[in-house]
Symmetry: C2
Subunit: 552 residues, 2 copies
Amino acid sequence: MSLDLYDRHREKLEQACSAARTRGYWSAYKEMPSPRAYGETAQDDGIKAFQAHLGKKFEIDQPTNGEWIGAEDGPFGVELNVKYPAPDVDAMMAAAKAAIPAWRKLGPKARAGVCVEILNRLNAMSFEMAFSVMHTTGQAFMMAFQAGGAHAQDRGLEAVAYGFEEMMRTPDQAHWVKPQGKNDPLEMTKKYKVAGRGVALMVGCATFPTWNGYPGLFASLVTGNAVIVKPHPRAILPLAITVRVIREVLSEVGIDPNLVCLAVDTLEAPITKEFALHKDTKIIDFTGSSQFGNWLEDNAKQAQVYTEKAGVNAIIIDDFDDIKGIARNLSFTFSLYSGQMCTTPQNVFIPKGGIDVNGENMSFDDVAKAIASGVEKFLSVPERAVEVLGAIQNPAILDRMSDAKKMGEVVLDTTEIDHPMFKGVKCHAPVIIKVDGKDVEKYSEEVFGPIVFVIATEDTQDSIEKMRTTISENGAITLGLYSKHESVIDAVEEAAIEVGVNLSINLTGGVFVNQSAAFSDFHATGANPAANAALSDGHFVSGRFRVMQSRR
Amino acid sequence: MSLDLYDRHREKLEQACSAARTRGYWSAYKEMPSPRAYGETAQDDGIKAFQAHLGKKFEIDQPTNGEWIGAEDGPFGVELNVKYPAPDVDAMMAAAKAAIPAWRKLGPKARAGVCVEILNRLNAMSFEMAFSVMHTTGQAFMMAFQAGGAHAQDRGLEAVAYGFEEMMRTPDQAHWVKPQGKNDPLEMTKKYKVAGRGVALMVGCATFPTWNGYPGLFASLVTGNAVIVKPHPRAILPLAITVRVIREVLSEVGIDPNLVCLAVDTLEAPITKEFALHKDTKIIDFTGSSQFGNWLEDNAKQAQVYTEKAGVNAIIIDDFDDIKGIARNLSFTFSLYSGQMCTTPQNVFIPKGGIDVNGENMSFDDVAKAIASGVEKFLSVPERAVEVLGAIQNPAILDRMSDAKKMGEVVLDTTEIDHPMFKGVKCHAPVIIKVDGKDVEKYSEEVFGPIVFVIATEDTQDSIEKMRTTISENGAITLGLYSKHESVIDAVEEAAIEVGVNLSINLTGGVFVNQSAAFSDFHATGANPAANAALSDGHFVSGRFRVMQSRR
């Protein structure tokens, strides 16, 4: 079978493998939506391509029960009204499974080439994707372009690189010659073949359909599996476009496109469980609630299950001189996408007696106020604020904000900002609430949305302990620390390793605790309840295939 | 911390890593019990060391409930009467867990050095180990020396090599510099630390306590975990000796020896479940029955579970010219350790119309008879026969042989051979029974012991189908094929990949389907019900640790 695509993309693949090993900065795809990178007409073409989907049937020639479904709300008020073919579960599973042997026989190199080709094509469509992500998730344009486009593509490529390296650890063939003293040696020819596990199910989330979806999707694909892509009913279009591109490339290389199918459902009639418990589903990737993630881990026993679930991300503030740096950095951190990231901190632990700033005590309330003022100032220009905040993904979040305000003293109330471009749409600034460290039940679980608790602890040692308890029990993807004492930094590093969370220390510049970069930062660790896997590492890919041996 | 042991064993470790990547023949430890390899007095010293254990308390200074237990039957009639300290489960778990942080801080290189040192010391004790394995499992001396000694040590080293390589995929540190156009770049220093999952439980089996136990034990150890070693009540001594050596080396490098503890129980009062369900048990390795392996997979949800269970290994005999080669090869295969290997074939599929041998039809009965005569001839000299057969590990196997003989025409009855050295001990030759291919229920499950079914199928296509059905349902670790047609070989290779079993083709010389060599052959695939993992590959090690990141 042809290695054309592998040869064409070999350099990029090798760079990706090398970047993942050295973990310095590297990116395969341009994150700035500039005409120089994407072409003079790219933005206009992207808008038109996005608009062309609206109110239409999204045609995919795959096994269907004949119905057309889909009910995506546009958080910015743009009515999508796109209809997708509803799946026939058994027929879709059978079709996907039947496509596997030819895909397996292509071999690791050809499959990796196909995956990079798909990612490159998705990259060329980054504006169309950005508008699709924006108008399903509520992300502001720049974020939708970056997180939904280049960064998601980088994460996809990272998974391809890990999968490729993992498969290449075993040679195609070996000649085994065992000496037998004076007699002739024993000789054998051994062949090793990589085989995927079967059909994989990728369950997308409502907030980052591509960024959180691509790693599992491409990890399964490159290792020889079929993939059923099951988008969240609120964020279908970005993954529908993705599936169409994948099927197009598969067809071009002579692979049955039903290897990758789109399984759309609705909030009223969910089908994830049916796919997840199907006997031929051997891999599941899930991003979403802890409740459903735990259900999958407990019930889909026939499958390898990789989950990213809820958590209680935290910041520990100890003695620190650059309080403006803290306030500036956290303002953006809390505001970005109205706190609707799985990496946004929720719990900010501060000693109730305050902290030392340049040799002077700054009280708890003053630290809290400094952060609150930072947020207010950062969001003071509406045109700029809405481009950071984006829109609220679903109305339940607003209820949660109201409830949270009853839990303690409101240090900063939310502001509703009228979106200057999308009439009637309101953007929501974060709310900051002061709670007593002793009231652990108030902050020990995730309260998803632009909700921050500033928590008064006995001292930094108590902050560390409360972080340890909450994260051990309910998980976290990020932990931030501000301290000028190396001994405190050491203690928090040790505690972070013990509870299994990645740590960011003294971020005051242009890097934020809720951002993680492909090829350098691991997203989650798999070592606490927030996720059972990390994006991406050897563990994330090695269970997706097996090596079969034949010797003679 | 000191890298002395790493430096000392670095070359061996690198050779092991390289061998696992190229998969040609390589071995770190000498498999022949020769004075040249092990020293002039090694055999006598080994006998004495073994005898010194008999009738004694096996002292290990670890958390105990104060009782001394142990009831190992010697299959060769040698009374062991060794007593071991019974564990206090909670205290042992707590002690093991407490030892982890210091072990983690040693880092991957130092831990790998410690593991190789342990394996080297075990190698130097190979005679003592051989007698311990022989008199607990019933393996004849040569097999006990090889499989229980050098081959087990090689498998242990292989797991260390895979674990080491997996950890080394992520650097200790990275400098991340992201360009920002005309502005100063964003810069961060990132540290990556490997942390084990916690306490691992290794559940040993009665037939190959070291060979099947070392991979999980050393994979967990090198990746930073504590290990509770839970031997089968019938085969404790080999693992007790192993644990003692490990604790000795750990103490020498300043690690709390309770990192590795021995958890002995009895058939009457098993404790595996209590350890397996303990909240701090994060990894389980198990070799044994499908029933208990499946129970562990279903119930020990807090742990990564790696299992090797029962299966129905098969041989397919198609047209083939060297019928003597088949008979010679299978005679040894069926006789070795009285068929008590997880790799011994049980089901031999032969077309009922016979096969083509050098252009002439050889009937089913003649093929079966050729194999039976081969076994008879091979075992005709008692002194030699007993050194291949060894002893029956436990009496239930004899009952199973009697039952099996009622299932069809007995092509070859077993013979009882008086052991010339151990008075009163009888060795048992395999029994071969003819069954109709249609009576699938007779041969579709494992009937453990020296029991072979020759199965009359419609034709080779039917043989392939019956192999496919039985292995898909009940698993297998080995599949053998004899055919002179490349098209049949291709078809069986494809079927083997589909059902996920490793294949050996046309073995007529000195390699046997039930043998697998470390660094070259994968033992099991993890792709069928006989095992959920392979020894050893990236998947076997990657779930045993996580990488935690700290960036500033």
